[in-house]
Symmetry: C2
Subunit: 335 residues, 2 copies
Amino acid sequence: MDDRKKSLLKAIVENYVKTVKPVGSNSLCKKLKCSSATIRNEMAVLENLGYIEKNHISSGRVPSELGYKYYVEHLMEPKDLTGEDMLKLQTIFANNELNVSDAVTKCLEIISDLTNYTSVVLGRGSSDNLLRQLNIIALNENKVVAIVCTDKGLVENKEFIIPDNINANEIVKIGEMVNKILVGTPISKVAEKLEFEVKPVIAKRVKDYETVYNIFYDAFNDFLLHNTNIHVSGRVNLLKEPEYDNTTSIKRIASKLEDEAFKKMVDDIDGKDDLQIYIGKDSKFDDNVTVIKKKYKSGGEEGTIAIIGPKRMEYERVVSLLNYMVDRLEGKNEK
Amino acid sequence: MDDRKKSLLKAIVENYVKTVKPVGSNSLCKKLKCSSATIRNEMAVLENLGYIEKNHISSGRVPSELGYKYYVEHLMEPKDLTGEDMLKLQTIFANNELNVSDAVTKCLEIISDLTNYTSVVLGRGSSDNLLRQLNIIALNENKVVAIVCTDKGLVENKEFIIPDNINANEIVKIGEMVNKILVGTPISKVAEKLEFEVKPVIAKRVKDYETVYNIFYDAFNDFLLHNTNIHVSGRVNLLKEPEYDNTTSIKRIASKLEDEAFKKMVDDIDGKDDLQIYIGKDSKFDDNVTVIKKKYKSGGEEGTIAIIGPKRMEYERVVSLLNYMVDRLEGKNEK
DNA sequence: AATTAGCAATCGAAAAAAAGGACTGCTAAT
DNA sequence: ATTAGCAGTCCTTTTTTTCGATTGCTAATT
């Protein structure tokens, strides 16, 4: 890959991203300062190397998946955010009023709006939350609600129907004891403490201790199971892209725009921390799309933000947006 | 409208619902026991009355909006649920484990699954909830979380950053006082009590009482503003319907499949209590769809469930499903 | 040796034309 | 009041034609 080939590939990708039409040799003469014949020769080489493709024998060239990969790894130059992009995102952080979860949601909305792609966040409470308070409230003789609050301000609640042989107020009292034992415990250690410190205490006090124990266990359920919540913004934006120009392809992609598919795609609890780009087949979503994702960790929660667009995504811009956004969420770069 | 015309209209609607193709005079000979010429004559009359339409001069007939309306008002005969439909819905209520909100969500999933339409619920806490407990928890010197719990088990929480001149623990103490004043108050009366009973108490104790007052006001925000939450199931099912056979119509309807549009469509805080059918233009969603909705009220919450399908919906079946479901949710008909 | 001009060949996309079929509306007979 | 018969309409599908963009190759040029 000499310099001219690199420039050519870069030009083809960027031209295609912009026009969504196969790129012909003629249209690049000026940019590369040589004749169309030369470009055709170079194109033939790039095609042999697998970086670009033809739809048919007399059509212009289109970047292949490999071509896009080469582009994002070696060719693109993420710029600073443009004025408009920057301005809109800054409104979120301007007044520090929003909690993390709302700020993330707002970010997604703005990004979807600016780019016309789909953005998704899969968030969950981070494991370094400490239990701040466990509160059991009796609603009537056989119904209580358990509220768990962490030091980072995460709150979960769950309702329980309690069996006739146990009194709701009894549960409340046991709740106070359990709270005393667990307060300050990292959420990740709660299960352990429940088993070895709480269970014996309950067993001493209640005959049917398994039932009562399970209530407390279930109260922490969402935290213990790393339950995630998902937010999607601009869900159907993908359908607006011009590559979806026939009913078959639209219906295929449309059927994937449900939360479950997004969840599967975004989820990467073990993935790397820095920004990742998954093109086409690698996206785990659809061969025709690119997914750019990045983890964040802020306040009491952590998660992954993903932006889903066509393969001919505005890579440079989206990378800049996502990086900036996560930096701000994490409190860095607060200029 | 003599009997034969009624049978004819009924046959046209049902035939069209089934085949999604304009109905010709020939195809109904057997059912109506007369010749195609007779049917053509009758059809001409029905067309003059506005109940059916032609796409073009030599095409079969299609029910008009008016025709559908006549059908749902006078012609359809909602049957008992079929075995399969009944069976699936019953699994939800079988073990009384689910809280209302989860049961509703589950119902929607099943209905979307059975019918291939889209279903939506817009729910909110019902106004007859009483405040069971207001709990302020200090997270650090300038951050507290307020948790509101009602007697029906609804829980909301909100985080507050408090100004430097006030101590978090002070807020906690005031919270205990406020809780004492408000406990047992219907949520709908909280705003009033806050203004006339709580505000004076705070004012006596704190200089900057407006700020503190606002925290308590905002803590009840979700309840006071009738904040609704929305759930959608089978969101893109509509796109699968054969009437969406070109990219223009698909993209038009797709752009409406976002939560906001659903919200606007379902919301009818002042609507009638019994089942309502909105066809085409009346749907507030899209001229090509029918929306069937019904309110429910159960546990601590109330809301509206809506099913959105093509105008040629399986009216009888959907009406039966929705009625059965709401009855069960409200605890009636528990056989 | 690298670059370029020139040109026939290829093939998709769009437009135009042709064929086929499903209805209807009307007339006249039953 | 109903029905058989038939011309007329118009959509849908298929086929044909036209048009234009782009390529690969060859030979000339730098």
